[in-house]
């Protein structure tokens, strides 16, 4: 049996961990807001400044997710997987890169024109070397992600896995990450409706956390 042992949300200029608000900065644009999150938690990680906004968002959401979860540090590098998804891939940076092509094509922008670079950034930070996958869907396909990650866990391809949704396009953004472990966790009462019991890794429980987390997991209508 696999369990959801932590979750993090970054949306609407706010940061949540396990349902609790940790930080907010209303009024800032996405880039300014992401910087303020980094500064608030005082993570000393100069690579952050080189990242594009999508990677910054995913990286910050992973930092929040793993914050104060010592069990997440106990796995071997090969045992931790990262499986992420969104709708628009790296389109936010694709546009910026293409604008640079008219002058001088920028290699430092081009490298971020792949959505899985964000997985690479999370892996580099934490020395995670296990399974990776980036899937695209028009909204967060919780059933598919639960099935895929459960298969990795049940076949021992992973002992733990970070999974979720990280989307950023222009002014719209939202991240919702989950830490999946085989252990039951400390039975936190994360959400109003969740019972204070170990939270099984099911589509229903993921859906419940999302519904209370206010992350938009759909393509913004333009």
């Amino acid at each position: 049996m696999n369990h959801i042992t932590a979750n993090s949300v970054i949306c609407h200029n706010s940061v949540y961990k396990d349902g609790k608000a940790l930080f907010g900065n209303k009024g800032a644009d996405p880039a300014g807001f992401l910087l303020s999150v980094y500064q608030h938690f005082d993570w000393q990680y100069p690579k952050f400044f080189k990242m594009d906004n999508l990677s910054k968002l995913g990286w910050l959401a992973a930092e929040i997710l793993l914050k104060d979860v010592p069990s997440a540090r106990a796995y071997l590098p090969w045992e931790m997987g990262v499986v992420l998804s969104n709708a628009n891939s790296s389109l936010d940076t694709d546009r910026k890169y293409l604008a640079s092509v008219k002058e001088i094509p920028s290699p430092s922008l081009f490298v971020y024109t792949l959505p899985n670079i964000m997985i690479g950034e999370i892996c580099i930070r934490n020395n995670f070397k296990g399974e990776n996958a980036f899937f695209l869907s028009d909204s967060f396909d919780t059933d598919f992600i639960v099935r895929y990650v459960s298969f990795l866990m049940d076949t021992d391809a992973c002992q733990a896995c970070i999974c979720g949704w990280v989307e950023l396009l222009g002014e719209e953004y939202g991240a919702q990450l989950f830490l999946i472990e085989k252990r039951a966790g400390e039975a936190p009462a994360w959400t109003a409706s969740a019972p204070p019991a170990p939270l099984a890794f099911t589509g229903e429980n993921i859906g419940r956390i999302i519904s209370e987390g206010h992350v938009k997991t759909k393509i913004p209508e333009k």
């Binding site: 090969w78 694709d94 092509v101 081009f110 490298v111 899985n116 580099i124 990776n132 028009d138 099935r147």
Partner: protein, 377 residues
Amino acid sequence: MSAVYVVSHNIISPLGSTTAENFSRLKEGVSGIRRHDDEKMSDQPFFASLLDNTKPLLREDSSVPYTKFEQLLIASMSDALLNSDIDVRDKATALIISSTKGNIGLLGTGTDDPELMKRIALPSSAAVVARHHNFINKPIVVSNACISGVLGILTGMRLIRSGQYENVVVAGADTVSKFVLSGFQSFQAISPGLCKPFDRQRDGINLGEGAATIVLSSQKKYGSGIRIASGSVSNDANHISGPSRTGTELFQIMTRSLREAGLQAADIDFISAHGTATVYNDEMEAKAIGLADLRSVPVNSLKGYYGHTLGAAGLIESIITIQSMKEGLILPTMGFEQIGVSEPLNICSSLLRTPLKNCLKTASGFGGCNAAMIMSK
């Protein structure tokens, strides 16, 4: 867990529109890579394997204005499905689309058709392709840099093993656009001539266009005698645009894939490498192959025939491997002359007739990702 059988497949590339056409051109030593002078794509001439845009990809006229990327997927799937008895309208049949950049060529073209612009988002484009072929299930889209094709097949294998689906159609494609070409040029990663995988003089990649489809099933009756035996993915956790310096992370998943398939290093008869012909990729792969004790196993790279077709590469190269297993024939590495990596690999440089039972496919990409997969007969 159920075995995963290869039912049928297709490759569309400048070398042909079926797997058989492609394989026979490869046997003749024909490459799709040419010099191109096209100011719309690049200020300087470049070498790439490009499809002839004057030839229609689809036989029938359609009311939907499909992009080149979508036409490639549709045409490749049509041929692969023609050669199978799989029912795409079955709830037990899934579709996986693999692509690195999909319709990115539409970006900045000035098209103001909102329906078309929506399809820069791969899920929208994949839905159009799925609808054309009447799939019931919503397509699953894999976009994980240059391992997308292999990861697409592994995802299909895993979905069948999880018992959710009986059949999975995995289709992948990528086209060459100014977007992608200028990006690799900005990285100084494009060879000024023909690419030379694993060679001492190797100096970068050529890009290529293509599509490929592989149909998988848990039903042995549909199978062609070849199975997807195992596979894994890893991350270097080292650098976002440069591969591991040691090859340890690719080596780890080669070992894990062997274990999962119940095989030993000595059981591997052939390795279809990623072999992009960049200095660092080929060296990293060589180190991983050495660590896995597979130095003496024949290795090839097909990049000298197809260029790097990004999200299609893993599919094309896996299908050519399947064809190699059927014919007992390993293809030479076009562009390779003299070993230029630190491990004394057995790079295949001429047609080699030998029975093949278990073959290893590898791929690596930006973001530090690696994939390994074993196909068995």
